[in-house]
Amino acid sequence: MDKKETRTYTLVLVSKISLRYKRSQMKIQQMAFMLMALTLFFVLIGLIFMAVQLSGVRESATNLEKENAEKLIMKIANSPEFSCGESFGTAKIDCVDFDKIIVFRDMVSDYSKFWGVADIEIVKLYPEASQTTCSYRNYPDCKTTRIYSENVKKKPPISNFVSLCRKDVVNEEVLEICELARINIRYEDKR
């Protein structure tokens, strides 16, 4: 093999090695891109999954807050200032004494900040009453009894059912009448 042939052979060999090297680089790049794409794909799935899970947690938190507010409502309804006690036979739960609260409205200024709410009202649902706010004049034929209200920005109301009981006189006989009502409370919106 002369000098010229040796040189040509070397050149061919170098170009072959270079081509193979480039192909390997290409393969490595392809694999890297593939791995990156797969990682991104799984990260996206993970994010979606987390978002769904977190929305569930947020929903449970909202439900818990609602349940707590409902419990607070029942605590208010069963407090001595509102509850029927034993005025209507045996002690009843979720029962609000209408006669008591219509008088209690006048003394409510003493209870400022006592319940930690910004608004308390009782709305009669059934039997239907005229769309009026309760006062001594129209009692008991009225719909809404506003018990306590602060002059602040308020959150939407949270409510629960109560039995609204009162005593009435029909044909010189004292009757106990209980109606279906809702007690609504509103918290101050501090945002």
């Binding site: 392809q30 593939m34 794409a37 797969l38 794909f41 799984f42 799935i45 439900n63 349940e67 409902e70 419990k71 029942m74 009843k92 739960i93 979720d94 029962c95 649902l125 059934y126 239907e128 629960n160 059912f161 109560v162 039995s163 009981c165 029909v170 044909n171 006989e173 009757l175 106990e176 009448i177 209980c178 109606e179 279906l180 009502a181």
Partner: protein, 163 residues
Amino acid sequence: MLKRIRKGQEEMVGFVLIIVLVMIIILVFVAFSLRKGSSKAVESFEVDSFIQAIKQFTTDCAIGTETKYRSIDQLASNCQTGDRCYDGRNSCDVLELELRNLLNKGWNSQDRGAIKGYYLIIKTDDEIIVNITEGNTTRNYKGPTSGLNDELGIDLRVYESNL
């Protein structure tokens, strides 16, 4: 050149296969988690309070004397024994009518958009006294809590729109 194109195609098919496989796994997982929480009632204090309140509600049915108006609780017992109201109406008819009105006013879908329907049943000694169904049933419903001590046997389900 042709060999390189074929190789590229093979890799693309592999990638698509992986994606399809992952999608199937996700679908199975989502379907499984949705089915898990489908038919469980949400125990609600609101339903408890409603049951307590309607039991105390005074109906316009007097039994015995002209002014001895009965509560829903008492009227259920009168219905069971077949008593009639002072004005001659059947106590069971009055009970059902009053309960329908109470349910309609309490769980009105116009006021509370999410409510799709309700179902109320009153049972005593395995005998059904009242059975009221209104609207549509859904998989998402509210029911009384297990802590509700109800000797009358009232079961109320309030169906809300599915999540």
